[in-house]
């Protein structure tokens, strides 16, 4: 393989990794703080994509066609889904905290089915996508969609934003404290239920943001969430449950491994990823960047 082909593959892997990071960041945050593995995360991502599409179409119909409508559309979808996440946590998820793990998994599993069908009811079975009319640009003798740069930038921006939020703001510090000892945080007079609802809203909002950002690249289709969620789990497991840095690194690893193995064994690229997951779980069940404490 010559250098330019290598670079292109690396670039496409990086872009894929950033999409996975945007998707998994919310999942990892929710798991780290609340100890809930949300099967419905990718389904909410899908809803975020569809809502972005609807807002985009609405704005285009009202104000005329412009690719810049995508920005308010993504922000609107993020806010709406964040609110939905808040309500979901308050009215459903919060009822299962005292329960056992399988029941929590099942609740979110049920949400996958319910929300998936609600999408079908509202948006029908056709695939939805937004075309921004971006021309491919020539780079290293091949044509690439410049939108990949937007995705990589969005991924890095969200990563930095989350780091700033978790390490430099008061609410973020409380959230990190809650990861280690919810009892202590609660004893200090901080209302844990509100923290949980806020974190869940943030996580779902991030999923919706990822859906919106993803939309100009590939169409949203029913059932995609079932494949996507297991890849998100793979990222979160490899990175370490609850570690944001780990999620970031793991997303890049998964993206790059995928884009290189697709050259050698096109159909088996996903098998490679699950092989990595298995090796990581056997070697370090708490993930590459997780702490053994939580194992």
């Amino acid at each position: 393989m010559d250098l330019s082909a290598f670079a292109i593959q690396l670039f496409s892997g990086l872009s894929r990794g950033m999409v996975l990071f945007l998707l998994s960041a919310g999942l990892s945050l929710i798991f780290g703080v609340m100890n809930i593995l949300n099967f419905a995360h990718a389904t909410l991502w899908l809803v975020g994509g569809y809502v972005t599409y609807s807002i985009f179409e609405f704005l285009s119909a009202q104000l005329g066609v412009s690719p810049w409508h995508i920005l308010p559309a993504i922000l609107g979808a993020t806010a709406l889904l964040g609110l939905a996440g808040f309500l979901l946590e308050r009215f459903l998820i919060s009822r299962t905290y005292a329960r056992e793990l399988p029941e929590q998994l099942l609740l979110t599993f049920a949400l996958v089915l319910i929300i998936g069908d609600l999408i079908k009811l509202v948006w029908g079975v056709e695939n939805r996508r937004i075309s921004l009319g971006i021309e491919p640009i020539e780079m290293l003798d091949t044509f690439v969609n410049p939108y990949h740069f937007v995705i990589i930038a969005a991924g890095i921006a969200v990563g930095l934003g989350l780091w700033f939020f978790l390490h430099r703001t008061r609410f973020g510090k409380i959230v990190r404290a809650a990861v280690y000892s919810r009892n202590m945080v609660s004893a200090l007079g901080i209302r844990i239920p509100m923290i949980y609802a806020g974190v869940f809203a943030l996580g779902v909002g991030l999923a919706a943001f990822a859906g919106g950002v993803f939309l100009p690249l590939l169409p949203m289709a029913l059932g995609v969430d079932h494949d996507v969620i297991v890849q998100c789990f793979a990222v979160v497991v490899i990175g370490g449950f609850g570690s944001m840095l780990g999620t970031f690194v793991a997303a890049i690893i998964v993206g790059v491994v995928y884009s290189f193995s697709i050259l050698f064994w096109p159909d088996g690229a996903l098998a490679m990823i699950f092989l990595i997951v298995i090796l990581v779980l056997i070697w370090r069940p708490w993930g590459l960047f997780g702490t053994e404490l939580r194992y």
Partner: protein
């Protein structure tokens, strides 16, 4: 005491439920049309699959999201042997047919031995994730290894011998095999081994203190559960005339989890009852609407929120409550009588 409540006293809810289900299953082919016979065959096969899952979940306390891998391995093993043994005309002899059925459980057990070797080192969420990862790995291998497994297309043309092409005959064959498997499972869960499983579920550390080899016992149970899932898978191929990679996917594992939760994980018969409810519901709902996931999702949601023990858990609670009330009344009467004497 009626024989019914004596059955309950000896075997818990599983006793009466087993008798009721046996009568139900024996009589199903008398219903007009082939439809319910077909549905009941599916109930039995998926019910066996769910019960094998419950050996891990209800008895050992670990949730596996990759259990369908062994269902699928069994189905593929049978399908491949079946395809080798059948004639060019697509027919298969009676002996060859049973030989191909026999191929399912050992292959699934072998797969479970390899997967389980790694899984039993972990518990809780990590057990769930590792089993899910193995399941997905096997799924993608079967999906993409076209020359060996026919990949995405699956394997078609698994037509059983003439005699078993009649749905009623195949149904009774399935019923006989499932009952035999059930009896074996019942003996296992009521044996000392079964009680060690319950100990592992309730307190692994204490089990280790008692000198129980925790990992070995978990591994043996994992292999047993895998073998029964493989048996269910073996029956699935000739029933649906084809196998496809989706049999190994996590959504298929989810079906076993759903059935177990609907019926109740606390007893041996719970998952089978869950399969009756799930599969019948599916048969009826899909007659009217394509929004089956919405319906079953809502059912699961309600069960998780309001009936965490499943249907059998609810019944058990009512019985306990009534027994408790009766016993309390008796006790109060005794005290009153004693008070009167003094």
């Amino acid at each position: 005491m009626s024989w019914w409540s004596r059955l309950y006293a000896r075997h818990g809810l599983s006793g009466p439920v087993a008798v009721a289900l046996l009568v139900f299953f024996l009589l199903v082919p008398l219903l007009p049309g082939k439809f319910w016979t077909h549905v009941s065959t599916e109930i039995l096969i998926l019910g066996l699959f769910a019960m094998s899952f419950n050996l891990l979940y209800g008895y050992m306390g670990q949730i596996s999201f990759g259990h369908a891998a062994f269902f699928g391995l069994g189905a593929y093993a049978t399908a491949m042997v079946f395809t080798r043994l059948k004639t060019a005309g697509g027919e298969i002899g009676m002996i060859d047919f049973f030989l191909s059925l026999l191929a399912g459980p050992p292959i699934a057990a072998l797969g479970a031995l390899i997967v389980g070797f790694f899984c039993v080192r972990l518990t809780g969420i990590y057990f769930a994730m590792l089993s899910l990862a193995f399941g997905e790995l096997l799924y993608y291998i079967v999906f993409s290894w076209y020359s060996f497994t026919k990949g995405d297309d699956g394997i078609q043309g698994l037509l059983p011998p003439q005699f078993f092409q009649d749905p009623v005959h195949y149904y009774y064959l399935t019923l006989a095999i499932v009952i035999a498997a059930l009896i074996v499972m019942w003996r296992i869960t009521e044996s000392p081994f079964g009680y060690i499983m319950r100990t592992l579920r309730d307190n692994q550390r204490r089990a280790a203190f008692l000198g129980i080899n925790v990992r070995l016992h978990m591994l043996v149970n994992f292999v047993i559960a895998g073998a029964f899932a493989g048996l269910a898978g073996a029956l699935w191929g000739p029933f649906s005339r084809s196998v496809s990679p989706t049999l190994l996917g996590w959504q298929e594992s989810g079906i076993a989890v759903f059935m177990t939760l609907i019926g109740g994980a606390g007893s041996l018969m719970g998952p089978l009852l869950g399969s009756v409810i799930y599969t019948c519901l599916q048969a009826v709902v899909t007659m009217f609407t394509s929004y089956w996931p919405l319906a079953i999702g809502t059912v699961i949601l309600l069960i998780v929120l309001f009936a965490p023990g499943g249907v059998l858990g609810l019944v058990e609670k009512r019985i306990k409550a009534r027994h408790g009330a009766a016993a309390a009344a008796e006790f109060a009467a005794e005290i009153e009588a004693a008070d009167g004497e003094t």
